[in-house]
């Protein structure tokens, strides 16, 4: 039973003088509750894939189906956390977080309390009335994460959500998000540059090729790793084996030698 499907999706960016083929014939599908990681060199089209699934851009070729319906006809909420946080500088943190409910006319006091609780969960208490400019990059990223989660989306698209965090906060948040997604049985796609993060969080890893972007190889994460939390996964013997295999694959594509 596939939940989210991409069928032969290609995407071109057009300009007056030229065009870029960013994606070439991408096909994959996710089951409900599945967590997939996208791994690949910079510029291979990872953000483009997410924007298309989020319905912000229309692919130039192919179909994207959510529960067998084209995404623009689907009613299901998709949560997209962009690569940069894009918090609105003129809104307070709490107003930023409650942007989704506001757009959908669903703001309630209950949601507001929920938002404050979630902010606390990611380690941000007493910031709700501050403005984004007074927060550090890592704090802003966590706010953006809460802003995405508060809408309770069925599908989560995360574009390098933990890139601006220190290692410890990152591991803790991976745990938190991993737990949240498993508990609520969410479907998710995570874009990352961190092989460890991909293995620790996802069920399946898609390694991409650049120019034009395509799927090079798929790695299944062993079942033992899937069931444990991100922090403990990194200590499992099978973790290192998979890490090495993916490393080799990526190394091969990027031409290897940096020596």
């Amino acid at each position: 039973m596939s939940f989210l499907t991409l069928e032969h999706v290609s995407h071109h960016y057009f300009s007056k003088t030229d065009y870029t083929k960013a994606l070439d014939d991408i096909s994959f599908s996710l089951k409900e509750g599945e967590f997939v990681a996208l791994l690949g060199p910079s510029g291979c089209g990872k953000s483009t894939i997410l924007s298309i699934i989020a319905g912000i851009m229309k692919q130039t070729v192919g179909n994207v189906l959510l529960e067998k319906k084209p995404i623009d006809e689907s009613e299901l909420a998709i949560g997209y956390m962009l690569q940069q946080d894009y918090l609105f500088p003129w809104k307070t943190i709490i107003d930023n977080v409650l942007l989704g409910p506001k757009i959908n006319n669903k703001s309630t006091d209950e949601l507001r309390n929920n938002a404050i609780k979630m902010l606390q969960e990611v380690g941000l208490s007493n910031v709700q009335d501050s403005y984004p400019s007074s927060l550090s990059g890592g704090m802003r990223q966590r706010v953006a994460l809460v802003r995405t989660l508060i809408n309770d989306p069925k599908v989560l698209l995360l574009d390098e959500p933990f890139s601006a965090l220190d290692y410890q906060t990152k591991l803790k948040l991976e745990d938190l998000v991993g737990k949240l997604l498993k508990n609520y049985h969410k479907t998710a796609i995570l874009v990352t540059h961190d092989i460890g993060e991909a293995i620790a969080m996802s069920d399946r890893i898609l390694v991409m090729n650049a120019n034009p972007g395509s799927i090079a190889k798929t790695f299944e994460v062993p079942i033992e790793l899937r069931q444990s939390l991100p922090l403990t996964v990194r200590k499992h013997p099978k973790y290192q084996v998979l890490f090495d295999k993916i490393w080799e694959e990526l190394d091969k594509r990027e031409g290897g030698d940096i020596r």
Binding site: G55, I56, L82, Y86, W90, L99, I103, N104
Partner: protein, 266 residues
């Protein structure tokens, strides 16, 4: 060892001292200007008939205020300028919003806006007077015309320069184009709109004074032309001084409004 508080106090003291020095210089320059003007006029370094003198100007201003004539002219001009300023600014923002809402309309309008912008609006004066009659309406129209096109263009281009990723965030929540405008594009452009306010103060004065030159019934612009025709240059100078004072006050008020707006919206 100095405490943090002491360091901070020192910093504040330094700021205060700097402000005092700047203010002192500003007062000195003003005083020197008036003294030089007076002296030059008394000793015939400049022709007192043409350039008048501060004492003559102040006597004339006081006299005209006490018999009420200055106040009438002044309030007429002020009324026209403020109205021209407000309608021009709001009109510009509304037009820019229309252009943004209808992309094709904006593409079609582009060459016309460019021509209108390049055109010196005061040159339209006679036509406006013929169309609207020689009165308030024509003059307010001038104050409006001078500021509206440039406001439209500035605000419209600021709308387009807003980072599209803010709209992306909103679209991922299912926002419509209008919601994107309300939540992202418009507030992000607030600083630009506020800064056009300041520019428009100056522009509306240009439009209104030229309008009064042409209509020649009442107002400070009319006083200048009248003084010029009857060779009463003290009157011309008095009117100029009044304009300078009023324009400065209006500018300061807009500046206050600006900082208030920035505090409460951005």
């Amino acid at each position: 060892m100095k405490s943090d508080k002491q360091l901070y106090d020192n910093y504040l003291k330094k700021l205060k001292k700097e402000r005092k020095i700047v203010l002192t210089w500003q007062v000195i320059i003003l005083a020197v200007f008036f003294v030089l003007w007076e002296v030059a006029s008394r000793f015939y370094w400049i022709d007192p008939l043409l350039f008048s003198s501060p004492t003559k100007v102040s006597i004339s201003v006081v006299e005209r205020f006490s018999n009420g004539s200055m106040f009438t002219h002044l309030s007429v001009t002020l009324f026209e300028t403020i109205l021209g300023f407000i309608i021009g600014t709001i009109g510009g923002v509304v037009l820019a919003t229309l252009l943004w809402s209808f992309t094709r309309f904006s593409k079609v309008m582009d060459p016309y806006l460019v021509v209108l912008n390049a055109m010196p609006k005061v040159a339209l004066g006679p036509i406006i007077i013929v169309a609207l009659g020689p009165g308030y309406m024509a003059i307010i129209m001038m104050g409006f015309l001078v500021s509206v096109i440039i406001t439209t263009l500035t605000v419209y281009s600021a709308f387009n320069e807003v980072d599209p990723n803010y709209s992306k965030v909103l679209k991922s929540f299912g926002a419509t184009r209008w919601q994107c405008f309300k939540e992202a594009v418009f507030p992000a452009t607030m600083p630009t709109m506020i800064s056009t306010l300041k520019v428009n103060v100056g522009l509306s004065w240009v439009g209104v004074i030229v309008g009064e030159y042409l209509v020649s019934k009442q107002g400070l612009g009319y006083l200048i032309i009248y003084g010029f025709q009857v060779f009463d240059f003290t009157l011309v100078m008095s009117s100029l001084v009044m304009i300078a004072i009023l324009a400065a006050i209006m500018y300061k008020l807009v500046e206050k409004l600006e900082s208030w707006l920035i505090k409460h919206t951005v």
